[in-house]
Amino acid sequence: MKTRAEGFTAWRRELTPLSALILAVGVASLGVSMGGTIVFVLVQGVGSFEQIVSSTTSPFQASLLYIGIVLGLLAIGGGYGVYRMMPTKTAREATLSGGALGVLAVLFSLSFLWFRSGEDFALFIRLFFSFDVLGPFTETFFAAARNTVFLAFFGQLIGVLLGGFLALMALSNRAVVRAPARVYVNAFRGTPLLVQLIVGYLGLVTGLGLDVSVYRTGIIILGMNAGAYTAEIFRSGIQSLERGQMEASRSLGMSYLQSMGYVIMPQAIRRVIPPLTNEFVILIKDTSLIAFLGFAFADRELLAWASDSYAETFNSTPLIAAVAGYLVITLPLIRLVTALERKLRSGLVGIGA
């Protein structure tokens, strides 16, 4: 294995001066236009929307964008003009990368110029980027973010348990066991979650007369909904295993359930981690639908917090904060699961293993 430093030295050796120049122009184009804009806006201050409006509409910022366009066009022309003449693969990749960066810079600059030329640009900034209005809501924001995580976590927990059970039912040889699972799965997959939440909540509270909070109802219905999707994920994971695994296990005298528990499920779970993660990420965002039922104040999740805060301030910046909140929750989760998946791979072969 080459160390990173050695790899870099080798890379530099194969880079020709022309390809290095084109790459540098590409980097500069995006650096000046996008990087320059971000730094400039941050330095000018984002405490109030007026600051953001004045920095983003300033002639200096426009010049950053124009420079970005010029450099970007140079990188595109240079990169795609000469890449076939490059003597090494490294040099060719460098020219192409320079060109690609140029494309990004030009697209960014043009879109920004178009956007800031709009009549209501200042209004848009005031509505969505008035970060100073968030001040009084900071504490409730973190409570809402925590609620979102809890709703999703417990919903998914119910979903996985229920889904595993339903998947086993759906794989039964007996039609009378299979049928209820199919009906359940199709009913929940075939109808909107929002409708399930409304009907479920009204059904529990007014129909059964139970005194349950929106929060708990949300978890239950979300879990029941996730169970249907998870069941299908598990079923496809189990069915993707070779028949020989079950046969070998049964031939050793293990019962059907033992074989499922010790041989089939451990392998199936490894296979379904990617689709299961996907499902969980969707579930995290679906917690926002519960807001329609009207949370108690302390139970609010991110969207409910955002719309309440919006109603109080007549400003949409809380929505942007909620968006940031969802990303802060989902992105690390995706990374965590990727790491877990790698760890569980031990002993398994496959593409990319």
Partner: protein, 246 residues
């Protein structure tokens, strides 16, 4: 043992897959210590017949008697019967998420209810038996085909079965790996294990087999001493099959 002194006895076995009549009335019995080699053209029903012995395939009609019990009886505890019949598959079917030792100990612990230590001891003993004790910690993906197949044999042997079934166990192996598996099977035969072997290895059939069955089209065509059948087959069909494989 069954009343007639056989370990396993098949009576008038028929098997249909849909409309496909795969086994058309098979009768035969295996005595303890016999090494029965089952050959025949592909599609003749050899594997299906082998798999009916441990009920991986349920016969549509007919009886299987094993060790004094009719195991095709609906009331039989199939899981218990299977602990006495080992099977090795063409595709190895090792559990990929478990290393060699754990592949073997799983059923020992969960079915025979052995303690962890006892099971491990027996696993290592069996791995040594098949000559790969140095791979005890290796996962199947880290083993060659021949090594995987020997772990699979050790896994079956660890249950201390009365009968071993081999379903074309060398067919998925590279030619240079076939010998190590055949040698292992040969040693087992010499130790007196009762075996039923479906194979295309005619050399093995001749040298190790104590009895040869030739199947075609769902019935047994020949049944007798391997050398006698190889040198003087009684059926035209056997002759043409042997001329293709020898």
């Amino acid at each position: 043992m069954n009343e007639d002194g056989s370990l396993v006895r098949l009576e008038n076995i028929h098997k249909y897959f849909g409309d496909n009549h795969v086994l058309r009335g098979v009768d035969f019995a295996v005595k303890p210590g016999q090494v029965v080699v089952l050959i025949g053209p592909s599609g003749s029903g050899k594997s299906t017949l082998l798999r009916t012995i441990n009920l991986l395939e349920e016969p549509t009609e007919g009886k299987v008697l094993f060790d004094g019990k009719e195991i095709t009886d609906i009331r039989t505890d199939v899981n218990n019967v299977r602990t006495h019949i080992g099977i090795v598959f063409q595709q190895f079917n090792l559990f990929p998420h478990k290393n060699a030792t754990d592949n073997i100990t799983l059923a020992l612990r969960k079915v025979l209810k052995m303690s962890e230590g006892e099971a491990k001891k027996r696993a290592l003993q069996e791995l040594e038996h098949v000559g790969i004790s140095e791979k005890a910690e290796a996962y199947p993906s880290e083993l060659s085909g021949g090594q995987q197949q020997r772990v699979a044999i050790a896994r079956a042997l660890a249950m201390r079965p009365k009968l071993m079934l081999f379903d074309e166990v060398t067919s998925a192996l590279d030619p240079e790996l076939v010998k190590e598996v055949l040698d292992t099977m040969k040693r087992l035969a010499e130790e007196g294990m009762t075996m039923v072997v479906v194979t295309h290895e005619m050399g093995f059939a001749r040298e190790v087999g104590t009895r040869l069955l030739v199947m075609d089209n769902g019935v047994i065509l020949e049944d007798g001493d391997p050398r006698a059948i190889f040198s003087n087959p009684s059926h035209e069909r056997t002759k043409s099959f042997l001329s293709h494989v020898l």
